[in-house]
Subunit: 312 residues, 4 copies
Amino acid sequence: MTAETRPERYAYLGPQGTFTEAALMSLPGAADVEQLPLATVPAVLDALRRGDADSAVVALENSVEGSVPTTLDELATGEPLRIVAEVHLPVSFALLVRPGTALADIKTVASHPIAQPQCRRWLAENVPDAEWRAATSNAEAAQHVADGHYDAALAGSFAAARYGLAVLAEDIHDVADAVTRFVQLRRPCTPPPATGMDRTSVVAFIGEDHPGALLEILTEFSVRGINLSLIQSRPTGAGLGSYLFWMDLEGHVDDARVGEALMGLRRICADVRFIGSYPRADRVRPEIRRGTHDADFTEAAAWLTTLRTAHP
Amino acid sequence: MTAETRPERYAYLGPQGTFTEAALMSLPGAADVEQLPLATVPAVLDALRRGDADSAVVALENSVEGSVPTTLDELATGEPLRIVAEVHLPVSFALLVRPGTALADIKTVASHPIAQPQCRRWLAENVPDAEWRAATSNAEAAQHVADGHYDAALAGSFAAARYGLAVLAEDIHDVADAVTRFVQLRRPCTPPPATGMDRTSVVAFIGEDHPGALLEILTEFSVRGINLSLIQSRPTGAGLGSYLFWMDLEGHVDDARVGEALMGLRRICADVRFIGSYPRADRVRPEIRRGTHDADFTEAAAWLTTLRTAHP
Amino acid sequence: MTAETRPERYAYLGPQGTFTEAALMSLPGAADVEQLPLATVPAVLDALRRGDADSAVVALENSVEGSVPTTLDELATGEPLRIVAEVHLPVSFALLVRPGTALADIKTVASHPIAQPQCRRWLAENVPDAEWRAATSNAEAAQHVADGHYDAALAGSFAAARYGLAVLAEDIHDVADAVTRFVQLRRPCTPPPATGMDRTSVVAFIGEDHPGALLEILTEFSVRGINLSLIQSRPTGAGLGSYLFWMDLEGHVDDARVGEALMGLRRICADVRFIGSYPRADRVRPEIRRGTHDADFTEAAAWLTTLRTAHP
Amino acid sequence: MTAETRPERYAYLGPQGTFTEAALMSLPGAADVEQLPLATVPAVLDALRRGDADSAVVALENSVEGSVPTTLDELATGEPLRIVAEVHLPVSFALLVRPGTALADIKTVASHPIAQPQCRRWLAENVPDAEWRAATSNAEAAQHVADGHYDAALAGSFAAARYGLAVLAEDIHDVADAVTRFVQLRRPCTPPPATGMDRTSVVAFIGEDHPGALLEILTEFSVRGINLSLIQSRPTGAGLGSYLFWMDLEGHVDDARVGEALMGLRRICADVRFIGSYPRADRVRPEIRRGTHDADFTEAAAWLTTLRTAHP
């Protein structure tokens, strides 16, 4: 096999059978990539940073099996990486058991700690006497069931075949329509082209805890008609008064309104890190406010030139 | 005399002896210009528009003898002109009389209608029984005194010699430190170069009377650290719900922060008219907010380019 | 006549035949009041302050014959008075002449200086060779025509009969739909009751010229869904950096949203003067933003009490 | 023992030996309470809701061993509870081993998944060849070491004695000065009295994903000079466009500025949940902006009354 045809290697939060693997498999061309399952989000990201992998897939928001704060903090403050795509998966578990197990037989249910609260109403109604056991991942929980340590695992139904388990119940979740958002990462690169249905992730660092800092940041977006779909404040670790804000915004860094807003952030914040512009998984086309299309910026720039050089 | 040496002609609100003439005379090189006194602000501006004059001087703010609303409306909605300089004169009147007249002799005091309220406390204390008479200008009032129609005129002390009058009292004004602001106009031209102590005048038109329109406009300035020194709303004449805002702001159209703010206005307003950038008469150097120097804009633009093209 | 039946006396900017008199006559019950025409806006307001008049009528905005800045400054900084009503009159002049005069006979046209620019296009087309002459008021101009000093006057057509003149042309104005706004004043009193179609006038004083002061003030309104219909900045006379803002807002001081906004101004401004709440002359019922009805404020206050005292 | 003297029972995220237990023990009077360790945050909160416990202690922010998103979501959307106190503990781990174990002997290190990334630089430098193993809690990891399953555990040094382990290294953390914030909860009750150094937690629900919703919310705080120390957006589970914002703000619900801001939120948001006002653990006294002291609100309210009833 020549260098040209060597398949890309994608690191992800494993083991095989996790939701993250399912997210990876939903990416275009995923069938041709070499998978590299790793035990923790930092391990996955470091593999990409070191060049052991060409890309990485991790959960970012409302995760069922990865640590969202860890992902945010790693991307915000570790060696820079870029999001190039996102995947939304519905939050929906299957109850996996060894073939032959009935609900009444289940004394223990294992899962990642974050899966448990998302199913606890279902568990209370269907296996009220079962005790819950923690596992490092839902896939590991399935392995423990296969090994006979526990009676049932909450995991994706796609994990059943891999571990030789049966699906005793499907589509388990307490909250309807919940999704987990995964992101595909690469080392710093040119963003994928704008599609008109894009999202941009950016991290703003506030040096001193000054009142109104967040309002200033949000005003940079609102004055240019840019809506935020996610905002999280996180301590930077440099003391309690020092914060960073992770923000997901509608639009692409190549959009004039987004570019000008990012420059505004750059000017007023202690630091700004661009995490990436990429197509939205939900393919929602945001409404663009009057006066904030690229053509409006181009026209205004031409007008400004006439003011500065001569005639109105 | 060749074309090269023909003196420039400056139109102003006359007649000779007005404060506007005093403002004109304070401009650099005024001694060499040909003066063209005219009877109304519109006449002055039209002379400049038609080319009968090369420049014009009129009162803009807190006038003592010209109509400020007329100036604003003419510049906002008439054929475009540009402010290239401003002059501040203290509001201070002299009481001009025919030689030999004493305070006790004064039965009538004439002035432009706008001068009267600025001196009425002084008049009430010093000539309590005198009646006030309107004149088209303070200079005309002085002429009427010289002609014997009235006993005294409120005018600039510089008008005394011209009309053969004596100064019976000086430095008359009810409010300390008041000034009148005059502007020098030219037909559309390249603005005078930035000095770091500049003012920019701009008019924004609001098409529909939508709540928050003014707040949106002010946010375009505040988000870029630009302070306003004057704001006036005026009906546009196109119905009661249609307004324009005249705004004077700190900075020059060549400043990056001002340029970007003007482009923002251009994008969100029904129309924007640039009236000019020119040195401040008070030579106050405004404090420039962190992150809004030209160098900050340049650095941010370079950073944005790296985001769009490749690497963080 | 007993004290109980003595008619009220209304001071106004005279003489008889001005637009201000016409505004006064349009007030309910005007037929029964005693009129007190006075020569200047300050004289009118002082008559009310001293008790020589029970009420006063002056032009406030876009005046054709009174000085708007004078009215604003007097109400903002003089001894306090309150607006209790407003009147809108269309800006429309008649050309008054002595009976028998034809357009071709007219060599001079007199008017208040503010009327001239509002008709100059008409004058240029219809009496291109006539010279304009200033008068203290349009009514005085009419008197001068009656006396034979001038050939024509720009004034309200209602002034013709009073001065024995003929109306040679009517409905003269360069701008369609322009109106002048007059206000009725009283000494401080309880505001007229809210009608749902009210306006409130208020003056905010900014102690130091600090950047963003106006934005802070406007935010107090916008955060409570209150729209401004007029804003004027005026120097206070206490130095160039010291400004006041006259603002007209939609709503009544008895409205919860207006009351809370005024308290906000009171807390952040160097000083605030309430000028009055009164029915809008245009009888436009403003849209009230979600969450800013009186009932919303009442419900929120009840909710807050439950938070503070015990239970959610 | 009579009912009067029965000790209060505090539920917390166990088992014994966790950081949460350490937080509980730092509360005033903790020595006299009965401890109820439970396996998950939902279990802890439900024990309090049902009355099985009188109070509960869980991690809220930057947790090292509990799920912060779970705590936020439970408090935001579960049956209401109130925060009455907070505790800050430095993020600092000990490496616990069976007595006699040396660094070179360590092949496996166990911990809660969230502890691992906070120590990984230390682990890479000190036990580069050790593999990491997940545990449900750091205390459970310590138990596994005591049982001989693993060689070392990352946990609080206070857990060593309980599990018969030795502290091989202390004060392990990659980031200096990081803290975990725990909160004490009770069923709905009157908030503890204001101390001048208070924090208020509140959750705002945005019904529709409308642009600028967050800006509106923040403006309600900023216009009243209230600073936020934490903001997190979370999907509500009712679809992707439906968000809630958890916000921690400086001040107490009994402060006038906080009360008015909360009423503002109540008026504009689909729903608002008050989570509690309680003394700040860091005892920082926030600067109160000019015009936002309680006395300013009281004075402004008195002033408004004079406007509405009669005289300026």
